[in-house]
């Protein structure tokens, strides 16, 4: 077994084990882990299965078979990065919506507070020191 192959197998086993560990610790959500698992399993398969790798290298026209491993890794990274960009876009969208909702609610709250303050002032002037009778009469009545 070539040294390169041993290193590749150890590396992919380590990667796989690490990913499984962070999933079980809930540091990585399952939905985002699938690509990682997929990439590390494919990488493991081709590290161990020398013939398969050579077939793959032939197909790709790569003279030196282990170089095909790097192509696999590169494609895997690319996929994961694209997924990251998609998730980022989604997250920034969501945080925008939340910021907007927050601002709208805050304005609504401020308006209500002013309304309540107006009503309780009116009550004080009238001599009744009760909280605003919001139920009985609507605003502007």
């Amino acid at each position: 077994m070539a040294r390169m192959q041993i290193i590749a197998i150890l590396f992919s086993l380590g990667l796989l084990a690490y990913i499984l560990r962070i999933i079980s610790r809930k540091s990585l959500k399952e939905e985002y882990s699938l690509l990682w698992l997929g990439v590390s399993i494919v990488f493991l398969i081709f590290s161990a299965w020398r013939q398969g790798l050579e077939m793959m290298a032939n197909l790709l026209g790569v003279a030196y078979a282990p170089a095909a491993l790097f192509i696999i890794l590169l494609v895997g990274m690319l996929l994961i990065l694209i997924q990251f960009s998609m998730i980022l876009s989604q997250l920034s969208d969501r945080s925008r919506v939340m910021a907007q909702k927050y601002a709208l609610l805050k304005l609504e709250l401020e308006t209500l507070k002013e309304e309540v303050a107006r009503w309780s002032d009116r009550d004080k002037e009238a001599g009744t020191d009760l909280p605003a009778p919001a139920k009985e009469s609507g605003p502007g009545a």
């Binding site: 945080s95 925008r96 910021a99 907007q100 927050y102 601002a103 709208l104 805050k106 304005l107």
Partner: protein, 235 residues
């Protein structure tokens, strides 16, 4: 007819007060809403101390698109008939507001844009050379993509009817939205009309597009315009 004037403001403490005064002076019947886009200066104070002005304060900076959209959402909630976008830097002429609103109110257009270019000559506002080049490119691209002859895509002086801002309250581009909105809305079948409105030099604050970010802005907006055109048939 209930009209909401949305004024997106990011670090505009120096110009905002005068803008609000001019709006209240020329058209007292309209509600004014300042959307403070997490400004670092006293923009929010200026707005809050101005009587008769509603203030929406965003907790983090969303850019002009996100700010204006929040205004649209309020307009939808509170049952306004017309929503106007009016920049806080003092470059728009409040005297033309009634003209824009009339175009929308009378059903002449779904969206009325105050353009810095007169139909006949190009007087009114002297932009820097590079900005003019950018504006020219937008004109050609939009003619190609949307089949609409719009002269001033970057103008932030616009009036929208209920149908238009109801749509935009949920589908509004975020960063530099003006040119993209033109394509998107034209493709959706909204009627866009322009009217000449003199633009002034900004009265304070800094441009959201500094010169060195020009290429980035152009690339991003052109890509967004193109994508908006491709999305024609999606909801």
């Amino acid at each position: 007819m209930k009209v909401l004037v949305i004024i997106p403001a990011y670090n505009e403490e120096s110009a905002l007060g005068a803008v609000l005064n001019s709006l209240q002076g020329t058209c007292p019947g309209y509600d004014l809403l300042v959307v403070n886009d997490a400004s670092a200066d006293r923009t929010e104070m200026v707005a809050r101390h101005h009587p008769g002005v509603k203030v929406l304060s965003l907790p983090c900076n969303l850019g002009i698109g996100g700010s204006v959209q929040t205004g649209f959402q309020l307009a939808v909630d509170k049952g306004y008939d017309i929503a106007v976008q009016f920049d806080a830097d003092g470059q728009h002429n409040a005297a033309d507001l009634a003209k824009l609103i009339a175009m929308v109110a009378e059903g002449e257009a779904d969206i009325a844009i105050g353009s810095r270019f007169n139909a006949r000559d190009m007087e009114g506002f002297r932009s820097t050379g590079l900005r003019r080049l950018g504006i020219r490119i937008f004109q050609m691209v939009s003619l190609l993509l949307a089949g609409q002859k719009i002269t001033d895509h970057t103008s932030g002086f616009r009036a929208y009817n209920r149908k238009a801002f109801e749509f935009l309250a949920f589908h509004y581009p975020v960063d530099f939205p003006e040119p993209e909105v033109v394509i998107m809305m034209a493709r959706k079948g909204f009627r866009i009309r322009e009217t000449f409105s003199q633009m002034f030099e900004r009265q304070g604050g800094v441009s959201s597009i500094p010169l060195h970010k020009g290429p980035y802005y152009m690339t991003k907006v052109l890509l967004a315009m193109w994508m908006a055109a491709l999305r024609k048939n999606q909801s």
